[in-house]
Symmetry: D4
Subunit: 167 residues, 8 copies
């Protein structure tokens, strides 16, 4: 694999079943990535190192997923100059996901986290590709193809539904 | 001004008092931008044109602010291959901002919006700079300076507080 | 089937299990309808065409169901002069349905969506019939019969319950 | 004034400051209406009479506004075969409007209320016009003019904003 | 059974699995009751009759259970001079019970409903007994016995837990 | 004043501006009452004494108002055999009143609190009168007069509104 | 077992499946504890005795778990001079845990409860150990070891994830 | 001032108007403290140093206040072996305080934060005193005096209210 452009981190390996969709989406766009378990609360020093150094080894975007009082995306954002994408994970100890969403979204002035929907690791992967695509025309083109493909899938469903009700 | 790299749009000119902070932040980073009022619900055709063509004239990131049932960021995301930053605005007709937040954040798979905190147009400006900075080292450097400056401001406040309580 | 008076659209074919109840209800009132999958986010052009032209081919009311950040009903309302009925769908990626409800209900001034309860496609079908019935006496009469039937069903349940506790 | 086509009722005269916008909007579309204070909880008999008889004297749509545990729209819907538009009012005793919204929106199967946004009496007026317009081409035409007017207002704001930032 | 002192009504027979606990509790206190299915939305006339006449045949308290946009307790309270106990039912179409709770609890000034916890039909039965007990010393005494019994049950659990951890 | 039948207590004298409405309502119905400040958290022993002895000196109903984590109504209910009416007060330290409402409403099985709407001390007074009225025909009659009076007030408002729009 | 330093109480033995984690955690730190079922609502006198006397027999911290309108932690805090840790339990009758959380967290000025996350009895045990450790160096040391152990567990997971994606 | 036992930190000096109450309360109990502005997001390195070293210079408890996506209390808890008290601050960018509360309260297993009510810095001060008092009898005694004082204040208010209504 070529040098990673996107770093995917998550607070616990139990988040992997949600975060896998980000992996798959980056693979689809053929964007090299790295992946690790980094916990803001259990491995704060590792989180510090990761956040302070990712851009030095060529990472362009970081995707961070976490649940409950989810501090990983925001803390990485406080330490890295890169755009950070936060994925609120509806973990087992979450109050219906509200804690995960608000802990990631409601960052103070000066330290943004690009938050996606609850459990929306797939969209995090697409957003990372869009960010890289904003300065890489080949990815931008793939994004247009991707959108076209979504369109065609809906059209197929549309035909199925119409057939069912009109035949 | 040189060719705009960031497009700032909002659903109504009443959102300008919130969105001004994005303008200021881009000016701070010296990133050229364009600004317009584009309403998903009142000028849907203009919104279509804007979203489909922004990347063709060199825009790299779009910041879209809207309140209530806020469809502007998501609809622009459905039509543009660019990364879209959504700013939920706590407009007068909003239910404490929850409608704005959820209408922008909870986008379906395939169509992400990079959502920032309620009314956090300043953070939208910083995030746009980070996205451009991910492929532009001079902006990346400015981002590190910006973070250093925030640090110093906190230190000044720290001194004031300590003086107040220890002298 | 005679010319459709009601258009039923939904963001994804996975919404069909909820939206089927609208179909059934219109069939009950013998009101001709059409049905399609139209996604605001994945097929925005098709959505545009649908919304701008439905009334030209005789559609009187549009029922639109969608989940999460549900933009379909509101965007169709922005483009069509017809009354639009919105059905918030509690989709798998929804935060307990709150996102679907608020994204559809909280439309800005000028662009109403007639919103029904979460997953209440049956009520959307009845409301469409009431709208057509407001200028069609035969439907109005059927509505009164429908209400009478509901009453009798409750009476039957009432008898069962009373029998259980008094015999 | 010609025979009323729309009935506007509200639970208390304190709701009038919100409901006035529905009046204004119907006047704009030149649709004759009647208006009254009808309380589900304080004048239940009057509410019964109103709901059971409105359609007999030519009313085509009823707009009902209420706050708190807002039962007026739903109770009228249970008694009338007409389409009922519910306006949740953020009254002084409301918990941020959530009670008004949920009491009106979450009607059981069989008895829909076409709910608009919190305090959105203006949208209730437009929706009533759309319902009448669905069988009255002159209103349908006015609706298209109305939408065009909204578009032009946004365009004017757009010009102001662009002028401010580009001159 | 002697003349009923408490009337138990519910919006649908599907509420019976919740409301049964009120029945059991009244039986425990040996208080005669009647039970019926009365729907505010599907049988509004029956609801009117029930509410206006219950006190005339000797009913002292009415327990009304309903879910979703639950109007039954409030409407009965608007028509009857008796104390009405409302039981919010977490029905299948409810948004986590919030709609049921707010529709029953947030009654306007002048028309109270004595609301108990979500699904707490057992507490509704006890409250009805307390209301009757406030003027009937034999019931008041039973209430003290009932409280004593609860205490003893907790004591038994306490012993079990202590045994488990200390032996 | 004759012997008090209703006890009104509140967690702090700052609740008096809300609770005054209960006082006024009981005065309206001519029901003798007593009033005191009793804090579950600051004067737990006094609360114990109050709750255990109120019924012994002839109190028939207790109205307890409190805000935030409002434990007063529930603790009194755990100690007294009387019906307890809880008034959730939207105090300054409350999260929009939700804490007050849920702390009072969601009592466990066995220990009901008859909860009224947020700040609805007036309704607490009416409910207390209804409870006493359930065994006192003269109060029951006054309740019917009270309802009639409310009806007439609405009718007066109805006339004002109709005059405004029809003259 | 030596003299108990921590008292663990819960409103019902059904809370034990949640509260067991506090027991396990104290055992891990080798801190002697006592455990009992004490219900604020069903055994108020026992609760009074427990809260007033715990510190007299050497208890240093009390952990109290309860669900729904959870008054146990707050009432114990009102009666004891000790630090009280509250564990909101998501019991079966709870509205998604919000009632438990708010009833315990939102205590009035003067009477704090140290609240942990919903169902987080494990964290209550750790917090109790930290409180004892604040004046007992051996426990403080164990706390540092415990944190080190958590770190190592995350590192192991990190290796597994990296292996999975890089081999 | 003698060596500080409690460290009070806050994310911004704008939190001081809330956090002052913690200062006042510690002064009341005569417990020496230190105070500083430490931002998790703007001065992450300082936060690291503070959290890792506080216990080494004799601090026994840390009180940390923060608003919005409030990561300060949780991050300090991840790095310090001491008990951490979190004060959710309702800052200007907060969504009614919910984000502050959930970001602090809902910490994952292994890393507790002793959370107090929204803006309840006074209670944080009392809780810190209770923690120190759990191993310092003179503070424990002061706590009992403090509770007695609260009781007397309520008694004074009680007299005032009774005088007002009985004279």
């Amino acid at each position: 694999m070529s040098k990673a452009l996107v770093g995917i981190i998550m607070g616990s390996d139990s988040d992997l079943k949600v975060m896998q969709a980000a992996v798959d989406q980056l693979a689809f766009f053929n964007i090299p990535f790295e992946i690790d378990v980094v916990s803001a609360h259990r491995t704060p020093e590792k989180m510090f190192d990761y956040a302070k150094n990712a851009h030095k080894r060529g990472i362009k975007v970081i995707i961070a997923g976490a649940g409950g009082a989810a501090h990983l995306p925001g803390m990485v954002a406080s330490l890295s100059p890169l755009p950070i994408i936060g994925v609120p994970v509806k973990s087992s100890n979450s109050i219906d996901g509200w804690d995960s969403v608000l802990s990631i979204l409601q960052m103070p002035n000066g330290v943004p986290v690009a938050t996606v929907a609850l459990n929306a690791a797939k969209n995090a992967g697409i957003l990372a590709a869009q960010i890289i695509g904003s300065s890489d025309n080949s990815i931008l083109k793939k994004m247009e193809v991707f959108k076209e493909k979504m369109k065609q899938e809906v059209e197929k469903k549309s035909k199925n539904v119409q057939q069912k009700f009109n035949s």
